[in-house]
Amino acid sequence: MTEPLSMTASRPRIGTGSDAEKRLKARYRAEKRFRAYGLISIAIALLFLVVLLGSIVSRGWTAFTQTYIQLPVTFDAETIDPDGTREPGALSSADYRAVINAALEKKFPEIADDRRARNDVKKLISSGAELELRKRVLADPKIIGTTLDLWLPASAPADQVVKGNAQHDESSGLSEGALVKLDALSASGSVERKFNRYLFSNSDSREPELAGLLGAVVGSFYSLLITLTLSFPLGVAAAVYLEEFAKRNRFTDLIEVNINNLAAVPSIVFGLLALEIFLNVLGLPRSAPLVGGLALTLVSLPTIIIAARVALKAVPPWIREAAQGLGASRQQMVTHHVLPLAMPGILTGTIIAMARAIGETAPLLTIGMVAFVVDVPATPLDPATALPVQVYLWATSVERAFVERTSAAILVLLACLVAMNATAIYLRKKFERRW
């Protein structure tokens, strides 16, 4: 083998003058520079990766905790159930805000006569606390009349101040008086950060501290399920036909050109197609994961077909010859031998295509999966959002506290991607066969 000129080996001395020496040195310097350019480019690209992930993790990790404030809550029978009936209907429509306000006044007796101070302090507690109290009372009406030290969720501005995401001044949305009280609370150990259940048990909400991902995760799950059940069999069937049965002619060439093109068509175009065909022509419901899944099927089919074809191609021809030699029909040869051998590769390709589909946003926007949906979708026909769409929705929200939630949503999305890709890599490593 011919080796390139190396810098340390003895140089072939063709020219002997000092000019030649200089030229050679310049050439070696150019060589070094060129090499450095390559390394620098890789370093820049990796730097971007680190900055990207770093900025999201540093912003998002705080969203996995939630600030709680401890208050001595008196479940006053007069306020909650003035008639004394203890009926669930009456208990669930009771004024729990009044209960919380009373608890705040008890903690800070000095605000009782000052309406402004009272209003300031009220802003520390989230409206989710009312639901919390209602749940407790409904679960056990006997606690009415007692006083309990309860941890109540803090409001978004208070939460952001405690986490240090917002500045400790009025720009945080809290007044001077409220901040003083917040400091007093945390000095007395009544402020704590606990795991953020709401992020995983709630759906979208107008209140940042109560907004969660459950609806979006379920929506994504339904869409992906539909995408998988449709695109896997169809993709494998198409790949098997093109790889194992089709004769090379104009028709198969046409199919091949189409698949390769569709793989590179912008996904928003598939969104337009889905809007026109599935919503306008077929009249399927708007914002439904069913339509989202159908759109994502069209987006991911070319990828799956191409991956499945590569996997089928990798099965050596003598497997086919042996099967046919023993009297198998072509279809028996494919279903009994070729497909099982190609399956790990096909599955890997499918998982990677699904990982792309879960992050796909644009086609979901045009079919209306961007609505503000508070309920968790019960079926694939109910209005829903999806994880990446939730990221988009929160990212475009004006409330500053949503920045943290958005980053957390991205982290959840990335965790799904990592899990899927890790499965794909594991499958490849475990079942990879070299012939």
């Binding site: 990796l46 698949i259 068509v265 029909s329």
Partner: protein, 459 residues
């Protein structure tokens, strides 16, 4: 959901019938010896006769029954409702359908729609029950027919394999139908748009403000649909993205293919590909929250005013997204250049970098051009980054520090929210989509051809 139950029932019946058919075949021939095919094929044969016609019937019913139901309900509407304008009527029917689907009549706008919704709901229930009965009957009749055809001479395997081949061919033609569907749906809505706005005005007009077309009595009610600012905006952002991605991507590809130690390559290449796996919505968020403010602060420190939605920040982030795309494609073509060319160059005394620049890159040029073209098509069609990070208002400018808007941004903003398929505002999104599809298609075809031609040369 109920439909899913029906599907499940049909599948279960078919599975049961499969066993029936297989056993029946064995019994008829008194053993498997004299059968033409394996017993399982007789099972599949009967199962296909049982399940397929029933499924087709159910699918056809699902597609056509809403149309029939709608016309039945429309016929039953009072005459003064029927004389409403078509747009109002279709709104009413939508409301009726929605109420009937949810079974919630509380929010009916008037008695007529409420009655119609109840009528619709009743008809729908009858229709669904009729469909279930009909398809189950067809399944049973099919199973009986299939079973009666079984004889030891029956070429069950050939019949079953014929059906499977049909399914395989049908699956592989989906790609063609998708393309046809894209072209037809874009073309159809675009033609409706061009009936309202001349093609020439759309392609060469310099003013884009579709949002003004709100009310017919407003000043400037027609809106302005000159798409040139969108095209220039898309080009500007793609150009910036390419200015970032091509040098970085190409140089990393060269280093990976020519210089890197295999161990380094094994670590760095997957890391670079992570950039390609990150959803674009994440890049959009990154652009808005990190890159744009950083650029703004930098601009302020040297006395430049940079817009918060500048083309520069959007383009840079898009470029980062495209880096792995270019680097992995170029890596492939550079690695495909035969070593003989390199050896020849070394033999003449060239250094490595001279060989790469003057021999390898020249040989790989068509492939690299192809990969760059594919990347350009990707940049033009990229949606989420620009939707989040680029501006909404169209400016005709080449200044990268200003905010520009792109074709994809406009498609999304025009279609998110209320869609009215009779206003040029909504229809223009499809015209933009058609332009986008044509441009990316042309780029893809050229790029794929260039890449393929090149590959054939060295294989």
């Amino acid at each position: 959901m109920q439909f899913l139950t029906l599907l499940l029932a049909l599948l279960l019946i078919s599975a049961a019938v499969y066993r029936l058919g297989a056993r029946h075949a064995v019994r008829l021939s008194g053993g498997t010896r004299s059968l033409h095919s394996l017993p399982s094929y007789y099972g599949y044969y009967v199962a296909l006769w049982c399940g397929l016609p029933a499924l087709l019937l159910a699918a056809g019913w699902m597609i056509f029954s809403p149309l029939i139901l709608k016309s039945l309900v429309m016929d039953a509407l009072p005459p003064d409702t029927l004389s409403l304008p078509a747009a109002r009527l279709s709104l009413l029917m939508n409301e009726v359908k929605q109420m009937a689907a949810s079974g919630d009549y509380r929010y009916a706008s008037d008695e007529v729609s409420r009655a119609a919704a109840e009528h619709y709901h009743a008809l729908h229930t009858i229709s669904f029950a009729a469909m279930c009965v009909a398809s189950l009957c067809v399944a049973l009749v099919g199973a009986w027919y299939g079973r009666s055809r079984i004889s030891p001479k029956l070429r069950a395997r050939n019949a079953v394999e014929g059906m499977v081949t049909l399914f395989l061919i049908a699956s592989s033609t989906i790609a063609i139908f998708t393309t046809i569907g894209i072209v037809l749906s874009l073309l159809f809505e675009s033609l409706r748009f061009f009936a309202k706005v001349p093609v020439f005005d759309f392609l060469f007009g310099l003013n884009w403000s579709p949002q003004t077309a709100m009310r017919s009595d407003q000043v400037g009610s027609s809106g302005a649909f000159g798409a040139v600012p969108l095209f220039t905006g898309t080009l500007l952002i793609s150009l910036i993205a390419m200015a970032v991605a091509v040098p970085i991507g190409l140089l990393s590809a060269i280093y990976m293919a020519e210089y890197a130690h295999p161990k380094f390559r094994a670590v760095a290449k997957p890391l670079l590909e992570i950039l390609a796996g990150i959803p674009t919505v994440v890049y959009g968020f990154f652009a808005v929250l990190t890159v744009a403010p950083a650029l703004r602060a930098f601009g302020a420190s040297i006395g430049l005013s940079i817009s918060a939605e500048s083309a520069l920040s959007t383009g840079i982030v898009m470029g980062v997204m495209i880096i792995p795309f270019i680097s992995s494609l170029s890596d492939d073509v550079i690695s495909a250049v035969p070593d003989a060319l390199r050896h020849g160059s070394y033999g003449l005394g060239a250094t490595r970098s001279e060989t790469i620049r003057q021999v390898v890159l020249t040989a790989a040029l068509p492939g690299i051009v192809g990969s760059v073209l594919l990347a350009v098509s990707r940049a033009i069609g990229e949606t989420m980054i620009v939707v989040m990070a680029a501006g909404l208002s169209a400016h005709l400018t080449a200044n990268p520090l200003q905010s520009v808007t792109t074709v994809t941004v406009q498609i999304v903003t025009l279609l998110v929210g209320d869609q009215e398929f009779d206003s040029p505002k909504t229809l223009s999104a499809f015209a933009l989509g058609l332009v986008l599809f044509c441009v990316t298609l042309a780029l893809n075809v050229v790029a794929l051809n260039v890449v393929r031609k090149y590959r054939e040369k060295y294989d």
